[in-house]
């Protein structure tokens, strides 16, 4: 690991100021992604600003929903009674990611900003437009089994690896950030971006901006939720494909549906058209299959990830069956 300076922020505004002041400075929270990347030589900050002592750990009710501070630990969110009661799909998603040891360190903000697990991105001897703009993409003609089938570009086909973010996208969360010019809010769906010509930018966060937290709007409570993650081993592996499903079912009729996928795009992939196809329909396997069909339209595959189209379809159907308790 390169040497770097270390400072500890005790106030939010000071943290933002410290980041704006020097070109190559980064925040550090749980460190579970950043330290790994620094060891691999992928991240080379000259200075780290430790934000773990900022008071951004609350998980609390607000007039419009639930607020989760950016420094709340992944394990704390997953076990929080408000979350379990109101948004169990978020707890399911969190618990399917990493391990208890990592979730005890990982924060909500850090989880949102974790970088792709594309092997070429991690290997500094390989070309990668995300790590080294203009160097090419190792994955497009290489081993791309884990890579995107939606929204990719000529310059990058990486996927965002987070499970938590898939649930937050389905729950219509918003993100609050603090920058040099003050606070701003954005829909969770607008936080991450597609790679386009600038895969070096994973998201729309501006220089110096600190994530303060996310807000999940109130929604009718439902037990009809599922987070289904398909991976190479039963636990402790990133998703090949994952699906978050939240349904409101009354008298067998689907009144509302929210669906998002992980492992398929550079950002959590919300399935609006598939959701619309379900509303007003009965919770039947045929209707779930139709929704899955709609969701997978327009998928573009590469040499090694063609399997994700069928897997994605089946994962959507299975997640909907689980959520609706339809055998």
């Amino acid at each position: 690991m390169n040497q770097f300076e270390y400072i500890r922020a005790t106030e939010q505004a000071a943290a933002v100021k410290a980041l704006v002041k020097d070109a190559n400075t980064q925040f550090i929270a749980g460190g579970t992604n950043l330290i790994d990347l620094m060891k691999m030589g992928v991240a080379k900050p000259d200075k780290l600003v430790d934000i773990t002592r900022l008071p951004l750990k609350d998980i609390k009710k607000t007039p419009t929903g639930i607020h989760i501070g950016a420094l709340a630990l992944n394990s704390q969110v997953a076990e929080n009674s408000l979350i379990l009661q109101h948004h169990p799909v978020l707890a399911l998603a969190l618990n399917s990611g990493a391990t208890q040891q990592l979730r005890n360190m990982a924060t909500v903000g850090g989880n949102m900003l974790q970088r792709t697990r594309c092997g070429y991105f991690f290997d500094v001897n390989m070309p990668c437009n995300k790590r080294e703009p203009g160097s090419g993409c190792g994955a497009i003609g290489g081993i791309n089994r884990m890579h995107a089938i939606f929204g990719a570009s000529e310059s990058c086909i990486a996927v965002h690896p987070s499970d938590m973010c898939v649930a937050l996208a389905a729950l219509d969360a918003t993100v609050t950030v603090l920058g040099p010019k003050g606070e701003r809010r954005m829909p969770f769906a607008d936080f991450h971006r597609l790679p386009g010509d600038h895969p070096e930018h994973d998201n729309t966060l501006q220089k110096g901006e600190l994530i303060l937290g996310v807000d999940i709007p109130d929604a009718r409570q439902t037990k009809n939720v599922a987070y289904l993650k398909v991976r190479d081993r039963t636990s402790y592996a990133f998703a090949l494909v994952s699906v978050a499903a939240v349904l409101n079912i009354e008298g067998g009729i689907i009144k509302n549906a929210k669906l998002a996928m992980g492992g398929v795009a550079h950002k959590p992939w919300r399935l609006h058209a598939a959701e619309a196809s379900l509303i007003g329909k009965q919770a039947t396997i045929d209707n779930f299959k139709q929704a899955a069909q709609i969701a997978m339209q327009g998928a573009k595959t590469y040499k090694y990830n063609e399997f994700k189209v069928k897997l994605g379809h089946n994962t959507i159907v299975q997640a909907l069956k689980t959520a609706a308790s339809v055998a």
Partner: protein
């Protein structure tokens, strides 16, 4: 989870080369002398802790390990794992992958299990750390240590300190009530010898026993 190094690189290094640990111990003493902090503390800006260290400078850190308070100074890039092993000579905590992928480095920080390889030592100022060396009560082994012996929960033993630290936390968290829960909540601890069935038995027995762990 691509890793260029096989994740046993550090393991075999240490097993094959018995002098490595001594060398590291010596060299860390030397660096401590040559890099003794000079003008360490810079003027504090408001809202930033005064502990600002320039590159090459060491930062004072005060932390409690197994009930003993230590005042040390470390370079910012030193991980908690390296501090424990190389400066405090607590070599019970193991380095397997050094990347959060194996669990050999599991310790408790303020009661929570974490991977010490992915955490900077400077970030633990004021924290309470428990390592495998802090688990026994004098000569009396911790119940889970006893259970690992009884059930043959290890072969080479390299993953064992991490397994036991993780297992104790797993029981305390209430995640050891069924064997399948144990498997899920222990998935962060990889055992190359494949001692998993016996590890699960040991943890389940202690958890069922209901004694305070």
């Amino acid at each position: 989870m691509a890793s260029k190094k096989p994740d046993n690189a550090t393991v075999s290094d240490e097993l094959l080369n018995g002098t490595r640990r001594d060398f590291l111990k010596q060299s860390s003493v030397l660096t401590a002398i040559t890099l003794a902090p000079t003008g360490l503390v810079k003027a504090a800006e408001s809202g930033l802790d005064e502990k600002i260290a320039a590159v090459f400078e060491k930062i004072p850190v005060s932390l409690t390990v197994n009930g003993v308070k230590h005042d040390v100074s470390v370079e910012p890039r030193v991980t908690l794992l390296d501090l424990l092993r190389e400066q405090l000579h607590l070599t019970g905590t193991k380095k397997g992958c050094d990347r959060g992928q194996c669990g050999a480095c599991t310790v408790h920080v303020d009661g929570k299990r974490v991977n010490s390889c992915l955490s900077l030592a400077v970030m633990h100022d004021g924290h309470h750390i428990t390592t495998i060396e802090g688990l026994a009560n004098g000569d009396e082994l911790h119940p889970l240590q006893e259970a690992f012996i009884k059930h043959d929960g290890f072969q080479c033993g390299y993953c064992t300190p991490g397994q036991i630290m993780s297992g104790v936390a797993c029981i305390r968290e209430g995640h050891a009530n069924t064997e399948s829960n144990i498997r899920e909540y222990m998935s962060g601890n990889i055992c190359r010898c494949g001692a998993y069935p016996n590890i699960v038995k040991a943890i389940y027995e202690v958890s069922k026993g209901g004694q305070k762990v």
